[in-house]
Symmetry: C3
């Protein structure tokens, strides 16, 4: 052993540090006969999926092993394994044959009733708390929040509909399903349904498979063939379903990077992002609970919005939540004015005094009946500040969030100014708003107005909330906000002859 | 050994996992006398290059060792080593003295005839198949495809020429060589030639070196001093020439990240990119063949467009190709309309019915004579779909590509609408097109038109092809496409007084 | 030992390669009684900070150990440890009680006089050379360079002031302190001062803390409560203060990624960035001195602008400097025209012939009295070229920088053209410039002019300097520069009726 210690570092410590994350405590699980039957073909025909699953905790652990962990360290939220499932690996058959009767996409496949689309309802077999929490998340309703809101539908058609220049006029076709599915609904979620069966040639001869409409899709508000909402695979990508991946910012960036939701870009230029991108190779992304300082020295998206955090002594810093607005007092994005968070995950029920499906009036005044109260806002803000506490004194944190309050106030004011110019354009006859039976999003001046809040005001609020100054300044920030307002003014003055 | 097993992981397995990628099977190569002579000085004067090379497979293996690998695992495509080269390392002299007579940049240097610019023709000594394939790649002709196309030359001069405001008019100087070399030709490739010799002071006294015009450059279509086209170092950066680097997306991003070719940005917000950026530290980028699932769980650029893929059992999933359009049915970028891929790597030969050097008419109609036929398109599409198969069922893949077909159709239609507005601007006398002896790219309305296809339509097609929804929606996607069209319309209406 | 050698790689070499960066030579340091007293509570109440510090060299080494290193390998620049500090860890008390009398934010806390804001003056106790160098850095004066320049103040108020649309006119409120702090001053630095004491409930009962105005902030030009300028934590983030982090590009990107200073984006598409993002997991970021080729094969920001570089034999390639313009002949950004670097770190003293606080006239002519001379420029350029030398022959390097000279010339010319259009707009009465008592940055045409130099000309110069062609071409490069000029011209022609 002498040689092994010459560096002063015992070999075992080194080896422990090197043990792959996938070496999991507890007995090796048994692969069920049903899953073995799947693997007989699929380890070859879909070898990529097979390998991916092999790297997963599902393949390497079992419920009985999972339930030996202390409660704070568990990744399942059931208290006991369902009958027959305690010692087996969670393999193909365990998920793809669950709740077969409820699945509109169930089909017979080599003697098994299987479905392609595994849903939150299926996952709730072992992860019920997460699924219940997620249902309270505004994201779970992302599909209907978009398609059942008449204003958003006008916005969507003005973007996705093909436009023609005929005579001197632009006409817009209705948007089509394939385009919607790969743009707005990629993130918001499609409606997935089995419309018919088709025969396909396979390596094992001709076989029948359902034709799925709205497929593929992993949007957060996907409407599933069993009626459930959402796709756990949006963040816990199949077939590793890894907590590590869900905790890394590239996962959220899939939908939260564009100018309408620049969270990922803001993070990239924040001090937290700087730490992550520079030092993350030394961090642990697999520990449950997640210990600030020991496991990581700067938060990722999940840290602040989702994860169970605790100290090394087991004191809980923040409870795990998949109802991600539990820690958010304000809703910063997607509508003209920032406002207190909606009460219901279903925002398509919201209506303002003017009859518009908006949580504020066009002046910015919040529609109180649908929004959380000041007390709820304080509670949520306190939860978020609790997450700052391991690394930041209260004075630091309070001052940080005072700046966010100011950013909300000033960006709302700049949205109001843009709205007033738009109203002047409509009333001056230079563009057609709803009162003139026009789509409020399709003309040049309307698109400038839309960018004022959908891109620039949002960007500034995110930059403030997450400390990414660039996106509050020159990168789609206050520079763009003020420039766009002046261009709108310039546009109006040219036409009104002032 | 007991202690070495306490974690249940035999030490040797751990060590094997840890062995650096650069420990290569086979006998240690011999460094040739010529290369030793180079290293005598250059290990000091260019120590960075020396170290980089030391980390390379060229320094650590030999052709005889390389040829002991089974064919599917080889990185060289010759069947036997050239005389005298079988057991030596591939060092300075082996490449920089090759084919001396064909190199216009050859010069006498301490008794050796060496050249600075190592070319695909030099590399083909050991990698002939790759060089032949690459010559069929549209990228190998990137220089002449740009500079021998009269339309592109007008575009280039409207971008790179210095403009002056004199009287009320803008005049444009011809673009200069230094500017072209660091902008368009950085990626497209310069013409590199030795124009004269110059004396320079060095650590070893005064010495003569050639002055190279168009140097430095590593563009994919570089015109080399030996007449060959391309630069292997564009992707396999000197002096490690690593397959790992070429397989990582940052390599392609060097030229494929801007708004004209946003492949890298699209990848960043795709599910594939999400997996790469979150999990790649657990993947292998050095295996040949590359095994989906075992070596990686999501493709990089190289996976879909270049690499040799196989299953663990040695079944080939995709043949290696450096003729990268082998798997591409459509050409999505760089011209107003997406169209079937050109037949020839030399696109400067293409001419449409109107006499323009374009693969479609201004209406979008493809110029069939220069483009691959439907059958070829189906073959290439099938090759690409084969790469999806290890991880995606046929229904998934077919639906994905049906969306791409739709995106091509709708973005072509939106380009046509923009083109019709531009034609109206020209015919109305609000701008000067080719019929008025104007550069069709230099005025404000023309630049808006150019962005319609060069930035936004492209971006949407890439987003569709690679599943990066953001770039098909708000980030230079359909939002920008529709906004730009309305701004063009607005511009025209203001001037035409409608 | 036989088994340990079967791969041909001695175990000890492998282990050496694996030894964590944090295993530091020398005796384990003693934690001082004062720091122990801090840790009694703070290892719990701010456990994240505690862990972060535990990972630092400050916690794991001592000055006596640090001073055993050969001079070239040292990270401290004192020659001997201050009395009583030689064998202790640098913990909480060592920094937060230093120079208590000079700190306006000092307060009594459990028997200690501590301050929250540790400053460069505090750090200079052990790192005096770095602090002196940094004071010569233009960044150390970033606060006053912004707020004491009347032109920049007009720019800042036109961006950050809330604007209202009243009647047909836009009015602008003065910008507020909270907005400035999270936008411009996030990077430039706030003035931090203790304004009063407040009581707060803590886990240990009610306690008094100072209320800090301008806090939190880690801007490079922060004006500290002890009168010193800057924040070492801008790059060496608390509480690891790691050299590794400062050497990685994400650190500089926190302030140098937006369109006004796109250095990080340019790097991402450069060959150097390509190498970094593809291969950096094999590099060493912790070695002092830093050895090109052995430790890394492509430079990061720090390599070219800050770090001490040497060959393995100890020959110095570049001296360490925290006066980062030591290697920069030109100033490329932030003002309309690129120009020789200013002599003084304080640029608010500069005045041109027209009386404007600018280093050039509006024509681009440099104001020589405030700028370094040609000889200084040559010296600085030579220093930079010396850093290229380990990997690039002199011909390569000279040609690279000849292109930068050209880019400076052409972008300055394109700025002049835009300036002439703006002057025509002012003289034509279409906008109000300084001669009409207007803010030169607040109207639409003025904002277009500002983007010409603040975004596009800058971007091209950075792209040229660092070899990131995309940002010199389509991504805010020459495409945007030429398009913007044509839009300015279009704007003017429409109004002047030409």
């Amino acid at each position: 052993m002498a040689a092994l210690l010459v560096l002063g570092v015992p070999l075992l410590i080194l080896l422990a540090a090197l043990a792959p994350a996938t070496v999991i405590a507890g007995a090796q699980p048994v692969i069920s006969d049903d899953t073995e039957a799947c693997l007989d073909c699929h380890s070859m025909t879909t070898s990529g999926i097979y390998w991916d699953w092999k790297h997963s905790r599902h393949a390497q652990s079992s419920l009985s092993a999972a339930l030996t962990y202390p409660e704070l360290s568990r990744r399942v939220s059931i208290k006991a394994a369902p009958a027959g499932m305690d010692s087996i690996a969670i393999g193909c058959a365990e998920c793809h044959t669950l709740n077969a009767n409820e699945h509109g996409d169930t089909f017979e496949h080599n003697g098994y009733n299987i479905h392609v689309v595994v849903t939150p309802r299926d996952c709730s077999t072992c992860h019920p708390e997460e699924v219940v929490q997620y249902a309270g998340n505004i994201m779970s309703n992302a599909h209907s929040n978009l398609v059942d809101n008449s204003l958003y539908q006008m916005l969507q058609s003005s973007i996705n509909g093909v436009q023609h220049f005929i005579g001197d006029t632009i006409t817009t076709d209705p948007q089509d399903e394939l385009t919607d599915a790969e743009s707005c609904l990629y993130c918001h979620g499609t409606v997935v349904s089995a419309v018919e069966m088709e025969e396909r040639d396979t390596a094992f001869g001709e076989m029948s498979f359902p034709v799925l409409q709205g497929w593929p899709n992993q949007g957060v508000g996907r409407v599933n063939p069993d009626g459930s909402l959402g796709a756990c695979t949006a963040c816990h990508t199949r077939h590793q379903f890894s907590i590590e991946m869900a905790r890394k910012p590239a996962t959220c960036a899939e939908c939260h990077k564009g100018p309408d939701v620049p969270a990922s870009k803001v993070y990239e230029v924040s001090k937290h992002g700087n730490l992550y991108y520079s030092m993350q190779d030394k961090w642990s992304f697999d520990s449950v609970p997640w210990i600030p300082g020991r496991d990581f020295i700067a938060p990722t998206c999940a840290t602040c919005h989702v994860s169970l955090l605790a100290t090394e002594d087991g004191d809980v810093v923040a409870e795990r939540t998949h109802r991600m607005n539990d820690r958010l007092a304000w809703r910063l994005l997607g509508v003209p004015y920032a406002h207190p968070h909606p009460i219901s995950a279903n925002t398509s029920i919201i209506q303002n005094k003017a009859g518009l499906p908006l949580p504020t009036e066009l002046t910015g005044e919040p529609v109180d009946a649908f929004l959380i109260r000041a007390e709820d806002m304080r509670e949520r803000a306190a939860r978020m500040k609790g997450i700052c506490a391991p690394c930041h004194a209260a004075g630091w944190t309070d001052s940080h969030f005072a700046r966010l309050d100011k950013a909300i106030e000033t960006t709302n004011a700049m949205t109001l100014s843009a709205t007033e110019i738009l109203l002047a354009a409509w009333s001056g006859g230079y563009a057609k708003g709803p009162a003139q039976s026009g789509n409020p999003f399709d003309e040049a001046i309307e698109k400038m107005w839309t960018e004022q809040w959908l891109f620039y005001a949002n960007s500034i609020r995110f930059a403030s909330a997450m400390g990414g100054a660039d996106y509050g300044t020159f990168a789609n920030g206050r520079w763009a906000l003020s420039k766009n307002l002046r261009e709108m003014h310039d546009w109006l003055m040219l036409r009104s002859g002032e």
